[in-house]
């Protein structure tokens, strides 16, 4: 534990912000102290990202002001904020895929060769490598394309961009949402180190264990209001969760009768060079099957292959009793497969379509009469799912862009519920989803299974995987290394299997 400094570095005073009549923040006052890791939690739509975007100068408050280092500002701009040494790893700021690492790192502040208009590429490479080596023990060539990087590497690029500027304050909006545990652990180590170097950290997350382990202080927002700020030592994950939702969450995972029925999906001898080898398994009706593995273990590729987004070179996929097939997404959906993809912003939902248009996109035939969309029944379906999944939105006509991250994810799931699929392929289904909504989604998965659907969950959230599934297939280097019954494995044991270190741990103890 570090010494709690009493010096305020950011102070929000009486912040109000609405979007078209809907309040996102009301009368929020909050102080962040220098050299601390300050957690910010709250349900989906509580206003966390909005508060951060105000600080970033991306939104303007309707009322109130922000004090930074004792100086009051009622009009922050991104440029001003950056010059004050505040940097952001935003939840929804994507790097441009066609940029190189160097371009992404130095965009807008490229060093020039003195006295010339030319970019000093050598200096760019040197400075980037310095930071990458120092903080990540990593070297990435500046010429690598962003699109070739893994999610974790992309994030490293974002953090590196900030570190290049010797920031005073670093703000993370749900940074671990897309990371596997080991990568997340690296990030925590980094954050502690940055704090010890005197940098103030604002940290948003839905993982309360993370908040407990990492933060010095935590602030809870609920419905746009500031409900509490507490030193972490004086509170607990349970108390924080209670403050977030203002009610008791109860059991995270539903109790479910585990009685798998007939075979629903049979995969045999599936192979694709460089991605996976000889993968075979059967999914039964009423079963929730977990897949997990490190990045590049092949689990994700298998899932994508099942939905026809990638092709296998060998092997067969059989759905129910129908003939084996070479899938395309169209055929997969026809055979009643559903995929909730990991990257919701690019694949799951269309940000400039409305909630209702997104919800029915995969199931339009159900709402079509004589080629025309029946708007009344479409609206009814959208409303039903908004209520069912507790999607927080101004209404079914609101563009998805205006929903908070977690609520967008709920729409990505709603889309397939509307299709009445048989086989659900869920790729990190609860990323960015708050704890109450998670419980809701888990209950939904249980209900789907009880009604005879088969569900495959790919998740790097190991407690989720263990609590939710019946069986888990652990992928390692492109093969199913092991199959475990979920009830019989602990998180640590599962982690050891996932990372391939189970042999080692067995010898050690």
């Amino acid at each position: 534990m570090i010494q709690q400094s009493t010096q305020p570095i950011i102070h929000f005073q009486g912040i109000e912000k609405s979007f078209g009549g809907a309040k996102a923040l009301s009368d929020v006052s909050l102080t962040v102290h220098r050299g601390t890791v300050h957690g910010l939690v709250g349900q989906n739509g509580a206003g966390k990202s909005t508060l951060i975007k105000l600080l970033a100068g991306l939104h303007r408050p309707d009322a109130g002001q922000v004090e930074i280092d004792g100086e009051a500002y009622d009009h922050l701009t991104p440029h001003l904020v950056e010059s004050l040494g505040i940097h952001f790893i935003h939840q929804d700021r994507l790097l441009v895929p066609s940029f190189t690492v160097g371009e992404a790192l130095f965009l807008g502040r490229e060093p020039r060769i003195p006295g010339t208009p030319f970019l000093d590429r050598r200096q760019m490479q040197r400075r980037a490598q310095e930071v990458l080596q120092r903080y990540f023990g990593l070297s990435l060539p500046n010429s690598a394309l962003i699109s070739q990087l893994s999610t974790a590497e992309k994030q490293i690029v974002q953090i590196t961009r900030a570190l290049l500027d010797r920031p005073k304050i670093l703000v993370f909006d749900e940074p671990t949402a897309a990371l596997v545990k080991r990568e997340a652990d690296l990030l925590f180590t980094l954050i502690r180190r940055l704090r010890d170097e005197g940098i103030t950290i604002l940290y948003i997350s839905h993982y309360l264990q993370e908040i407990e382990a990492l933060c010095d202080v935590v602030t809870v927002l609920r419905n746009g209001r500031h409900v509490a700020t507490k030193p972490i030592a004086e509170t607990s994950a349970a108390e924080i969760a209670g403050l977030m939702v203002n009610r008791d969450i109860g059991d995270l995972f539903p109790i479910r009768e585990k009685s798998p029925g007939a075979a629903l999906l049979t995969v045999e001898g599936l192979s694709a060079t460089g991605r996976y080898r000889n993968v075979g398994f059967t999914l039964y009706r009423g079963e929730v099957l977990g897949l997990t593995g490190l990045l590049g273990s092949g689990a994700k590729d298998v899932l994508r292959t099942l939905f026809g987004l990638e092709t296998a070179e060998e092997g067969t996929v059989t759905v129910a009793e129908q003939a084996p097939w070479r899938a395309s997404p169209v055929q997969a959906a026809r055979r009643k497969l559903a995929l909730v993809p990991e990257d919701r912003r690019r694949h799951g939902v269309a940000l400039d379509l409305s909630v209702s248009e997104n919800t029915t996109l995969a199931s339009l035939p159900r709402f079509t009469r004589l080629g025309l969309v029946d708007r009344a029944s479409e609206a009814a379906e959208a409303d039903r799912l908004i209520t069912r999944l507790q999607i927080k939105t101004a209404g079914r006509e609101a563009l998805l862009r205006t929903l908070s991250g977690g609520n967008q994810q709920k729409v990505a799931i709603a889309k397939w519920l509307s299709r009445h699929s048989d086989i659900y392929l869920l790729d990190e289904p609860t990323v960015g989803v708050d704890i109450a909504a998670k419980v809701e989604i888990y209950a939904l998965i249980a209900e789907l299974a009880e009604k005879g659907a088969g569900i495959i969950v790919l998740s790097s959230d190991l407690p989720e995987l263990i609590g939710l599934t019946d069986r888990i297939l652990i992928f390692f280097r492109g093969e199913i290394a092991r199959e475990v019954v979920s009830d019989t494995i602990t998180e640590d044991a599962l982690l050891a299997e996932v990372t391939g270190s189970s042999e080692a741990t067995r010898y050690v103890g």
Binding site: S18, G21, A333, R334, A350, L353, L372, V373
Partner: protein, 325 residues
């Protein structure tokens, strides 16, 4: 506290204002030329605006709206107009019955659409480049077919009466071309805004990958869109030919820039800035009025283009400026 709902209302007002740019421009232009150009307001003149300027351009612009909705553009709409015209004239010249010649005209347009569909949906070339290629190829093909671009006239005598119906006929006192345009506009509006096909096309334009990940046939929709665009443009070609009884190679391109302009001006009318038929039609009306008004004010022909360009800028700028607030 009371300031907050007011703020919401203000925002809605701003949103409404940004959508008003096009209607306001329309009224302003109308009033301006009524004052400036003697004869502008005359019934005969306004009718000529509708028949001569509005009709054909509105059909082509409606076609273009589908391509823009799907996130693309069709630079070869004029080629479809020309191919339809050529096929139509050729069959009539060969003594074939008019209905068959009309069908062949639509077929001629469809060939252009299918060619685009193969390039865009099949091979995956970007719509801009694909249809630019089609535009060039279509131009050469027409020159080859007509000995370097000679018009193909229909002999006034040897043409059946029914040939003229489309372009010069009238029904219940209304000119047939206008009725055809109205029909095309109405059908297109229903297809784009209300049909499942229109919904998916809109989604393709907004986020094609999401359409694919939703298990919808992305390529089929792209292909169908470009065939539909060409078919609608072909209708304009048929009406045009029936009116002027001549096929002039590469004359269809005259519609291209105005059609694009109208489709984009039209997006300002939509709540979310999407391409839409009503907006496109108002856009065409605006461009037609301006063209006619400038002519009636006795302005040099070459200045008309400047006027049109300024107008497109103004509407888009007004709309975006008020959106930014």
């Amino acid at each position: 506290m009371s300031a907050v709902p007011a703020l919401g209302a203000e925002r809605r007002l701003v949103e409404a204002a940004s959508r008003l740019a096009l209607p306001v421009a329309l009224v302003a232009v109308f009033l301006l030329f009524s004052a400036l150009a003697p004869g502008f307001l005359a019934a005969a003149n306004l009718q000529s605006v509708l028949v001569n300027n509005f009709t054909l351009l509105s059909i082509v612009a409606v076609a273009m709206t589908f391509a823009v909705s799907a996130g693309g553009i069709d630079l070869s709409v004029g080629t479809a107009v020309d191919f339809a015209s050529f096929a139509f004239v050729s069959l009539v010249l060969a003594g074939q019955p008019v209905p068959l010649a009309l069908a062949a005209g639509l077929g001629g347009g469809a060939v252009v659409g299918l060619f685009n569909a193969v390039l865009i949906a099949g091979i995956g070339i970007s719509p801009f480049l694909a249809t630019l290629g089609t535009l060039f190829i279509g131009r050469s093909v027409q020159q080859l077919l007509t000995n370097g671009g000679n018009p193909v006239y229909l002999p006034p005598a040897g043409v059946p009466e029914s040939f003229h119906l489309l372009g010069r006929g009238s029904l219940a006192g209304l000119p047939v071309p206008l009725l055809i345009a109205a029909l095309v506009i109405a059908l297109a509006a229903v297809i784009l805004a209300r049909s499942r096909f229109g919904r998916v096309v809109t989604a393709v334009g907004i986020e094609a990958e999401v359409v694919r990940y939703s298990g919808l046939p992305l390529k089929a929709h792209l292909a169908a869109t470009y065939v539909l665009v060409a078919l609608i443009a072909a209708v304009a070609g048929l009406v045009l030919t029936s009116t002027v009884t001549v096929y002039i190679p590469n004359s269809g391109n005259a519609f291209l820039l105005n059609a694009i302009g109208a489709a984009f001006i039209g997006t300002t009318l939509h709540r979310h800035g999407r391409p839409n038929i009503a907006g496109t039609v108002l856009g065409v009306l605006l461009l037609s009025l301006v063209a006619n008004g400038l002519l009636m004010s006795g302005l040099n022909f070459y200045w008309q283009q400047v006027g049109t360009g300024l107008l497109i800028f103004t509407v888009l700028a007004l709309s975006f400026a008020s959106r930014k607030v």
